[in-house]
């Protein structure tokens, strides 16, 4: 195989994707770190924000900051309008049936906790079972462990193989009539594995189990159609989708959300309160107690507009090309071992370097202006499986370039030199 040709080919495929133009939308990318141009490859931890998102938030605070759903004055009407139109954007973004199915929360973590407590705690007992996987982020493990302590519900894990893929036949064996919830990540944050969620959802439904998909890593890379997937819950975080921190989304099927009791009590989630009892508000407000993160919601709406303008199709073509390029280049580095080699993968490169601890790699790369994540990536069971304490993880977004990957390769070589 002629590697040079191959790389040229990869680059050709995405020539019409104007990265440099898009990079101009992200003010943060144009700075130096330790005297070198910033190379931001920690997109799985959080993505950067385009100017349009920053502007939308600023405009809210400058022009119409006020509380929503209660004032009769103009500012409040404008804020309510912006807040609810962002909900509509989210609904369309994931193709939900109705805005009643879109609940704003703090992030993926809060959404999972909400489902575990509101859906799980009231209906599950020690006769029941929940299935999650060894690939999960701690956010999709600990809430279920808590629920298990509270209700006695049994927690089972779908194992992974040496490529970091779920072992589907094992999943089949774990499923049975007692399975009530299956909670699976759409894409693994530690390894980049894209899970076969369509199959997982269909098989769970055969046993009448409900399925929660943790989409924290997915929405910035691939389009999501909750109707087509037929998942019961889908959760994601705004900050991994070029939006602000502190805002996220719980999608739930209307009939399920309707049956679930509130997660928190307070203002906004009620219709009427007497000293004796409370009548809860309609969906989705039943789950949005208190003054919400209004600027966060507006920022998330702007982020979705931005992503739609570029198109997730185009984004994924460019990101796949970046991943292929990075795979080829890094596979030439002796001593580098990929952790996570699934056939279906998103643009995450997790690796170890022989004799060099990831923490040291992170420090040396940072000195070259390159931001990556090192550690267990909040997925300690994955590290346990591979019998390593940590990995180095470079995660690419659509605003990353081939040149940046070259800088990464050079810096990895520098690590080896420091330790030679």
């Amino acid at each position: 195989m002629n590697k040079k040709n191959n790389i040229a080919e990869i680059q050709n495929q995405t020539e019409d994707f104007d990265v440099e133009k898009f990079r101009k939308d992200f003010p943060i990318l144009h700075q130096e770190i330790n005297g070198k141009p910033l190379v931001y490859l920690d997109n799985a931890a959080t993505t950067q924000k385009p100017k349009s998102v920053i502007d939308a938030i600023e405009k809210y605070y400058q022009k119409y900051n006020s509380n929503i759903h209660r004032g009769v004055h103009t500012l409040s009407e404008n804020a309510t309008e912006a807040y609810e139109s962002a909900r509509l954007k989210v609904k369309n973004f994931i193709n939900a049936n109705s805005t009643k199915e879109i609940v704003f929360v703090r992030g993926a973590t809060e959404a999972i906790n909400l489902v575990a407590q509101s859906f799980g705690r009231n209906s599950l007992s020690k006769e029941d079972e929940i299935i999650i996987t060894e690939l999960e982020h701690h956010a999709n493990i600990v809430p279920w462990q808590l629920l298990s302590q509270q209700t006695g519900v049994k927690l089972k894990y779908i194992p992974i193989n040496k490529d970091g893929e779920l072992v589907e036949p094992e999943y089949k064996k774990l499923l049975n009539e007692k399975t009530r919830i299956v909670a699976v990540g759409h894409i693994s944050n530690a390894l980049g594995t894209i899970n076969p969620i369509e199959n997982i959802i269909n098989m769970a439904h055969e046993y009448g189990a409900k399925v929660l998909i943790d989409g924290a890593q997915a929405t910035s890379h691939t389009s999501v159609d909750v109707k087509k997937l037929d998942c019961d819950f889908y959760v994601f975080s705004g900050h991994k989708l070029f939006g602000p921190t502190g805002i996220g989304v719980l999608y739930g099927k209307e009939n399920l959300l309707e049956e679930m009791p509130p997660y928190q009590g307070g203002g906004d989630m009620i219709k009427m309160v007497t000293m004796k009892e409370t009548q809860y508000n309609d969906l989705p407000y039943k789950f949005e107690a208190g003054t919400p993160n209004i600027s966060g919601v507006i920022g998330l709406g702007a982020a979705i507009d931005y992503v739609n303008k570029i198109g997730l199709e185009n984004i994924s073509v460019h990101e796949n090309a970046l991943l292929n390029y990075a795979n080829q280049k890094t596979s030439e580095i002796t001593g580098l071992k990929f952790i996570g080699t699934a056939k279906q993968k998103t643009s995450i490169l997790s690796f170890t370097l022989e004799g060099i601890h990831p923490h040291d790699v992170g420090t040396i790369l940072n000195n070259e202006g390159i931001a990556i994540r090192t550690g267990h990536h909040c997925a300690m069971p994955v590290m346990e499986y591979f019998k390593i304490p940590a990995t180095s993880r470079a995660s690419f977004s659509f605003y990353n370039t081939y040149k940046e990957i070259d800088a990464l390769i050079e810096a990895i070589e520098k690590c080896k030199k420091v330790f030679s």
Partner: protein
């Protein structure tokens, strides 16, 4: 801008590659674990004392170059020191890696190669993990140490 070689000096790279005093002391009277949950560094100290002096000391575990080299250098420096001397060395070392204060390079000896970590605030914990563990074993409550 810092030169990365100020952090990863020859001595550190060497002690990381071939750590001294690496292993188990079977008849240790103090065994204590230190853990950094942030990066997964896990070290175990084995200390043999006569109540006043450190007669033997060793460690094992996994960690980054800074934490392994630091443990290697620390155990070297601690051999045949009294517990009082260990305590004062702890304080000197702590100042070395966290402050700009002048230090007694003669007294600290090779340990001074770790002075570079103060320019890398994220890495101070790596260098100090074994020291906190030692202190807890000798004069503290002998409870496992975590950096978080």
């Amino acid at each position: 801008m810092f030169d990365i070689k100020d952090l990863y000096q020859e001595i550190i790279v060497d002690h990381n590659r071939s750590p001294r005093n690496f292993g188990v002391i079977d008849d240790a009277d103090k065994i204590l674990e230190g853990f950094n949950p942030l990066c997964g560094d896990k070290l175990k100290l084995y200390i043999k004392t006569d109540g006043q002096n450190i007669n033997d000391i060793a460690f094992d575990g996994t960690g980054c170059a800074i934490s392994i080299a630091s443990a290697s250098l620390m155990t070297d420096a601690m051999k045949n020191k009294s517990i009082d001397e260990a305590e004062s060395l702890f304080n000197e070392f702590h100042a070395l890696i966290t402050t700009e204060d002048k230090f007694d390079s003669e007294h600290l000896g090779k340990l001074t190669v770790l002075a570079g970590v103060k320019d890398f605030p994220g890495r101070v914990k790596c260098a100090s993990l074994c020291w906190h563990t030692l202190r807890s074993a000798l004069v503290g409550d002998n409870k496992p140490v975590t950096t978080e």
